[in-house]
């Protein structure tokens, strides 16, 4: 029993190995943070643009947006990453691991965000549109100043959950050798012959995402919508 505990500590919490490999993990952490921020920025911007565009109800555009959203909700993100990374070079469009991961996850987040926000737009009562239009605001101004702010607020909880789920997917970048936390940690673990770098990697994820999850819980209560 005592021996077992010693072995566990030696394997997973080896101070020497941790010190040796910490810089690599930090490097990976930096990459993870960078991709995550890029994904959140691009994904949410694209999702908002698509949701707003859909409000104009232009037939063919609607069909295209719905198809885009459906496909990216149905495909596993790892499949999207692998298609972009391995299949696009056949079109002479080589992609860096960073681009493939960032672009894939941005598209996935955009699809989910569009769907969530569009549902929010639909949930804003008709009277809000009418009141705004009756004061002379145009369609775009009504959408931008009156409807979207309400739609965005009432959809904060599902959106926060989705943002967390998609950005956690940056770990999938390791499959195409993006040098983020998982890549760094598992190559370090095999080089060191010890899983302590994996522990470090796990800790790095917790350091990044636990604050995000806590922030998410706070946002959920902060924006709980009472009508």
């Amino acid at each position: 029993m005592d021996n077992g505990l010693e072995r566990l500590v030696f394997a997973f919490f080896n101070a020497e190995i941790a010190a040796a490999w910490a810089p690599k993990i930090l490097e990976g952490m930096w990459v993870t943070i960078l991709v995550s921020l890029a994904v959140v920025a691009t994904g949410l911007a694209l999702g908002l643009a698509l949701a707003a565009l859909r409000a104009y109800r232009i037939g063919p555009v609607d069909v295209a947006i719905v198809a885009f959203v459906d496909i990216l909700r149905a495909l596993p993100p790892l499949v999207v990453i692998i298609i972009l990374f391995f299949a696009f070079p056949y079109l002479d469009l080589p992609m860096s691991a960073f681009t493939a991961t960032w672009l894939s996850l941005s598209l996935v987040l955009a699809a989910f965000a569009e769907e969530i926000w569009w549902a929010g737009i639909l949930a804003v009562p008709r009277g809000q549109w009418e009141a705004a239009r009756s004061t002379g605001l145009g369609f775009g101004a009504t959408l931008g100043y009156v409807v979207l702010p309400q739609a965005v607020r009432m959809t904060v909880p599902p959106l926060v959950n989705r943002v967390i789920a998609v950005t956690k997917g940056t770990a999938l970048g390791s499959v195409v050798a993006l040098s983020e936390i998982v890549s760094q940690a598992s190559s370090a673990a095999s080089l060191a012959g010890n899983p302590t770098p994996l522990t470090l990697g796990a800790a790095a994820y917790l350091a990044i995402f636990v604050p995000v999850v806590v922030l998410g819980r706070w946002l959920e209560t902060r924006f709980a919508w009472k009508r």
Binding site: E130, A131, S134, L137, A141, Y145, Q150
Partner: protein, 255 residues
């Protein structure tokens, strides 16, 4: 001077042969109505008679099928009409208030001033405060709608319409969603507006208000104007049997 007074003033709002169908349902079946400056026209009629649709056609929130809507001398049904400009001249007050829940009272009142009239924030807020003061809510400018009573919310709704400097204000059952004890504050504001010379069209069931403030009462049924006249005539001595039946039901319903 004297000769000008002899000519009746041109109507601010005139509806000519207005028709509106929802599928097979004839909701407006040839409405002719002229509202002159400073006039308060009070519209009554059974549920589904087309009162709301009538008001909503005046600023084309609802698209009429045929007929003319003449606002301040111009037919707004003509192609090329700048609707958003026209709507600034026509204030509208809703049964369910429709305040923007994510904005303060002042934000609600100033949004169109800033985004349509293009006023700077300071100028917009000065006019917004004046409008809020006019409805007795100067101290509530920073309150959000969910912190206001129904009566206060509706007065913000009125201020939102007034801030744009409209030539006419349309009220669609402004007190129907209010608890009885809050109705008075809204009617008081409307009475003051009338006294200040505002032109108004009011759809409502508040007969006491109509007797005190209306210049003309219009009774609608089945998408047509059945009868119109002074409050005394319509409530006291209507010509049409349908009007009499409706008015007596209405006065019983309100004790």
């Amino acid at each position: 001077m004297t000769s000008a007074e002899a000519v009746p003033p041109a109507p601010i709002l005139e509806l000519v042969a207005l028709h509106k169908n929802f599928g097979p349902l004839k909701v407006l079946d040839g409405i002719d109505l002229a509202v002159r400056p400073r006039e308060l026209v009070f519209v009554i009629g059974p549920s589904g008679s087309g009162k709301s649709t009538l008001l909503r056609c005046c600023n084309r929130l609802e698209e009429p099928d045929s007929g003319a809507v003449i606002v301040d001398g111009a037919d707004i049904m003509r192609p090329g009409t700048d609707l958003n400009a026209v709507r600034q001249k026509i204030g509208m007050v809703f049964q369910s208030f429709n305040l923007y829940p994510h904005m303060t009272a002042l934000g609600n009142v100033t949004l169109a001033l800033r985004k349509v009239q293009g006023l700077a924030r300071d100028a917009a807020e000065a006019r917004g405060r004046a409008a809020l003061a006019q409805v007795g809510l100067a101290d509530k400018e920073n309150s959000y709608p969910n912190a206001l009573s129904g009566g206060q919310q509706q007065r913000v709704g009125i201020a939102r319409a007034l801030a744009l400097g409209p030539k006419i204000v349309l009220f669609d059952e402004p007190t129907s969603a209010l608890d009885p004890e809050l109705v008075g504050s809204v009617l008081a504001v409307m009475r003051e507006l009338k006294a200040a010379g505002m032109t108004m069209v009011v759809v409502s069931h508040e007969l006491a208000f109509a007797r005190a403030a209306a210049d003309r009462v219009v009774f609608m049924e089945g998408g047509r104007i059945v009868e119109q006249g002074s409050p005394e005539a319509i409530f006291g001595n209507p010509r049409e049997a349908r009007t009499r039946a409706f008015v007596s039901r209405l006065s019983q319903g309100h004790g």
